[in-house]
């Protein structure tokens, strides 16, 4: 067993690193794109912007991530989008995450009391300032748990990238399994890795939540 760890350890570590990287880039990309989509939907013309975004969200939510990834990776070249496995994977995660993030943000923005926005408009704050200074902090109280939750779901979607040969941890684990015919140990390592990974994100999420809700909890 030690010998096996010695042999595959470095590959597993690289895979681990790559999983972290794809998750971070994919989540960040998904959040940014999700936010932009929500802004476009909220402030853009309904017909030309609102409906296409809605169709996009429904397509992403209505199809498996694996299928979307294949469409992007194998179908992309047909329209001139020739991507290596890693960038295709990160882009795929971002596009996938954006559809869910934008829905969470929409619900969050909708929940901001209208009066607080009117008060900001009445005082003459410009729209962009209202979004950043008033709406985002206020809506984070309700939206943050859902955002963190989906970020956690995304950690586990990264394993799908192994299907387009991104050498992340699932890919490395499968390689290890097929070369050693040892199944229990590799899959246990994989499970432990994800569990630990998610635990770290959960803790970080709770700290963020406290930051955004401190005013609701403060003592007199």
């Amino acid at each position: 067993m030690l010998e096996m760890l010695h042999r595959y350890g470095p590959d597993l570590l690289t895979g681990f690193g790559l999983t972290l990287l794809t998750w971070m880039l994919g989540t960040a990309g998904g959040l940014v794109l999700g936010f932009l989509l929500e802004m476009a939907r909220r402030f853009g013309p309904r017909f030309w912007v609102g409906w296409p975004i809605r169709a996009y969200v429904e397509f992403i939510r209505g199809t498996p991530f694996l299928v979307q990834l294949f469409v992007l990776y194998y179908g992309g070249p047909l329209i001139g989008l020739r991507l290596d496995a890693l960038p295709a994977g990160v882009l795929g995660l971002s596009l996938y995450g954006a559809a869910y993030f934008t829905e969470i943000l929409r619900a969050g923005f909708d929940a901001v009391p209208k009066g607080q926005i009117e008060a900001a408009r009445a005082i003459g704050l410009p729209g962009r300032t209202i979004v950043w200074r008033i709406m985002l902090p206020v809506m984070m109280v309700s939206a943050l748990p859902a955002l963190v939750n989906f970020a956690i779901i995304l950690t586990k979607e990264t394993v799908i990238l192994s299907m387009i040969t991104v050498p992340e941890i699932m890919f490395q684990t499968q390689t290890m399994m097929s070369e050693t015919f040892e199944f229990v140990l590799p899959i246990l390592i994989l499970a432990l890795f994800f569990w630990g990974f998610v635990e770290v994100i959960s803790r970080f999420g709770r700290r963020l939540e406290r930051r955004f809700t401190h005013y609701l909890l403060e003592e007199s």
């Binding site: 900001a120 005082i123 003459g124 704050l125 206020v138």
Partner: protein, 264 residues
């Protein structure tokens, strides 16, 4: 130093109509708000008082007619013309303070931050200057010691006073109050009215939608009675409350007296 009174503005509504779908909320309303005076809008709920008030800073978009602050049209480039740009609308709104029934403080900011926000981001003051002026405004409404509290740690009356401070810190030339005491417990109404009386005494132009007939009777220079989107009667408090010429006004006041069993 910095909270010196500014020249009070007047407001003028001419033949203003407002529709919500088929429902006409304002029917051909014409009204002049004189500078430096207190105008109270009274009437049954649903009579269009709040809608009228909200047309003055264009939070409510009127459909036809004209609303002017001094002689500047608000909301449209020309009467019945294109919407004015966001920038110009914001510029006009700087001079118009507004206080809401539900206070509408920003919950994630302290009292001080609530007041300083507009000073920094609309008036463009430096942080230190904005903070100083915000403190002055809070002191003026008697809340100097609450500046670090978030709204959740303030009573309704205190929240409403912070909201007033937020508005006056911007040094508006006219102030709109939309039922400022209606959401308050009865024992907290007095502290808010006291602040408003002080503002009135300083010569602020004030338009107040209110169910506080006592305030209207004693503080208003002019009382306007509305019903079903129409301006029915307007005059000095004495005329309105003691010799109501209009039948609808008389029965509205009669109903109020019966509910509250008091005389004014």
């Amino acid at each position: 130093m910095s909270l010196e009174p500014t020249a009070p503005a007047s407001a003028h509504l001419r033949n203003v109509d407002k529709f919500y779908g088929d429902f006409q909320a304002l029917k051909n309303v014409t009204l002049d708000i004189p500078p430096g005076k207190v105008t109270c809008l009274i009437g049954p709920s649903g009579s269009g008082k709040s809608t009228l008030l909200r047309c003055i800073n264009f939070l409510e978009e009127y459909d036809s007619g004209e609303v002017r602050i001094d002689d500047r049209l608000i909301g449209y480039e020309t009467p019945g013309g294109r919407r004015m740009s966001g920038r110009r609308l914001r510029e006009m709104r700087r001079d118009i303070g507004m206080v809401f029934q539900q206070f509408n403080l920003w919950p994630h900011m302290t009292a001080l931050q609530n007041v300083a926000e507009g000073l920094e981001r609309v008036r463009g003051l430096k942080r230190a200057e904005a903070t100083e002026r915000a403190r002055e405004a809070l002191a003026k409404v008697g809340l100097a010691d609450k500046e670090a509290n978030h709204p959740s740690r303030l009573s309704g009356g205190q929240q409403q006073r912070v909201a007033i401070a937020r508005a006056i810190a911007m040094q508006p030339r006219i102030m709109l109050f939309d039922e400022p005491t209606s959401a308050l417990d009865p024992e907290l109404v007095g502290e808010v009215l006291a602040v408003m009386k002080q503002l009135a005494a300083e010569g602020m132009t004030m338009v107040v939608v209110t169910h506080e007939m006592g305030f209207a009777a004693h503080v208003a220079d002019r009382v306007v009675f509305m019903e079903r989107g129409e301006l029915v009667a307007a005059g000095a408090p004495r005329e309105i409350f003691q010799n109501p010429a209009d039948q609808r006004l008389a029965s509205f006041l009669q109903g109020y007296r019966e509910r509250n069993s008091l005389d004014f």
